[in-house]
């Protein structure tokens, strides 16, 4: 038996199967980093491209759902996948996930995605919803061992407190971060009773570290959230697409807590001031009213007093007139009232000698007889 006869003989299918098993054993899930070339999408579903360097190129195959966003030739990508020999189409790497790497590629990928999402209107201010004032129930998506997570909770508690916080611990960087972020957002949106706001936060990092927040699936999950979103990623200078898509963006995790709830001590001092204003306004009103009533009473009293004085004066005057006009007053001055047969005598011509007259003086009467009349 020669050496050739000792080697196993494969059918093409067996050989392909055997090679694929060998790939699995040798590499399992592998990572390749290289420059994107010949990128194309077929039937809006299948993605074909090469990853190359100066000396080699590797064909890759995947679906559009695995893309982090729009890509273009020349970008440097880090790809996770499995080496496969296809029975008809030959060797390729089947994509599990793709990430742009390096500042230039990450920025270019983000620019392309920004352009695409902007065209769809996903960042429009008109679609932003307002966050509830001092929410009672908050959903928090973050890495629970991160400083961002702790800072957010610390500031939240200092400013307001008593808030029910539901958290999901997720990876915030790396290959699996986008999927976990999307699932966490979906999880909170599928609850029978919804939180009032979703907070997504992480601390600062390199562009590579923050790449998950420029992932198209993450951005779309934020846009689709039924619950209003507040996203705070990185430091003040970092602005991710996730933040642009959110209903509200905060510059840092601490800032997210500041935007979410007011400062309790400030609110209390405002309430105190308002209460003081109300109290003094009521006191002032009561004092004014009391003064006004007292003045009204005085005016009525004075009006009555003045009217009574006038009446009194009037009556006095009338009395004086009556007194002056009274015949008694004339009698007192020395005049006499003469009556003849009980009737007042008004003319000398009505008197004849011998007539009996009665003289009325102020203190009595005198009966007299006329001796002689004027001629």
């Amino acid at each position: 038996m020669n050496q050739i006869e000792q080697k196993p003989t494969f059918t093409p299918s067996d050989l392909v199967g055997s090679i694929n098993q060998t790939f699995d054993l040798a590499y399992g899930r592998l990572i390749i980093e290289g420059e994107l070339a010949n990128f194309r999408i077929s039937k809006n579903k299948w993605v074909y491209f090469d990853l190359k360097d100066d000396y080699a190129r590797v064909a890759c195959f995947g679906t559009v759902f695995q893309l982090p966003g729009p890509l273009e030739d020349g970008m440097i990508l880090r790809l996770t996948g499995e080496a496969r020999l296809h029975p008809q189409f030959g060797f390729s790497v089947n994509v599990a996930s793709i990430q742009p790497v390096g500042q230039g590629s990450i920025k270019r990928a983000a620019d392309l995605l920004t352009l695409k999402l902007k065209k769809e209107g996903l960042f429009e201010p008109a679609r932003k919803r307002s966050l509830p004032f001092a929410p009672e129930r908050v959903a928090l998506i973050a890495a629970s061992d991160s400083a961002a997570y702790k800072d957010f909770l610390k500031i939240l508690d200092e400013r307001w407190g008593g808030i029910m916080i539901e958290t999901t611990n997720v990876l915030v960087q790396g290959e699996n971060a986008p999927t976990q972020l999307v699932r966490a957002i979906q999880y909170f949106n599928e609850q029978p009773s919804l939180a009032e706001v979703i907070i997504i936060t992480r601390g600062g990092g390199s562009a590579d570290d923050l790449a998950a927040f420029n992932n198209e699936h993450v951005v779309r999950a934020i846009v689709s959230s039924r619950i209003p979103t507040l996203v705070a990623i990185g430091h003040e200078v970092d602005i991710s697409l996730a933040e642009l898509a959110a209903d509200l963006r905060a510059s840092t995790p601490s800032n997210a807590a500041q935007l979410l709830v007011p400062d309790k001590s400030y609110i209390i001092s405002q309430l105190q001031s308002m209460t003081g204003t109300i109290d003094s306004s009521i006191t002032r009103y009561v004092q004014n009213q009391e003064l006004s009533h007292s003045q009204s009473f005085m005016r009525i009293y004075q009006a009555v007093d003045s009217q009574l004085r006038e009446l009194n004066n009037y009556l006095k005057q009338q009395g004086e007139i009556a007194r002056l006009l009274s015949p008694v007053a004339a009698l007192k001055r020395g005049y006499a009232l003469i009556k003849k047969q009980g009737r007042i005598l008004r003319s000398a011509s009505a008197v004849r000698g011998g007539d009996a007259l009665t003289l009325h003086l102020h203190d009595g009467t005198i009966d007299t007889v006329v001796r002689k009349t004027p001629s």
Binding site: I268, L271, Q272, T275, D279, I282, T283, V286, Q289, E290, H293, S296, F297, R299, I300, A303, V304, Q307, L311
Partner: protein
Amino acid sequence: MATKKSPDSFRELNSELEELLIWFEGGEFDVDQAAEKYDRATEIIKALQNKLTKLKNHVKQHKVTFE
């Protein structure tokens, strides 16, 4: 639906007092009516003062305190 005003609301009492004031200070003073109107004016002032005292006490009793 509008609420029916109480016949002795603060506003109504105040405006009745105003009318009495006008009557007393106007030229239609009438001795026969003056005593009755004077009594009504003092009654109204007492009622208004009562209401103000109640308000003051209410504000005192319900003073808000903050932790």
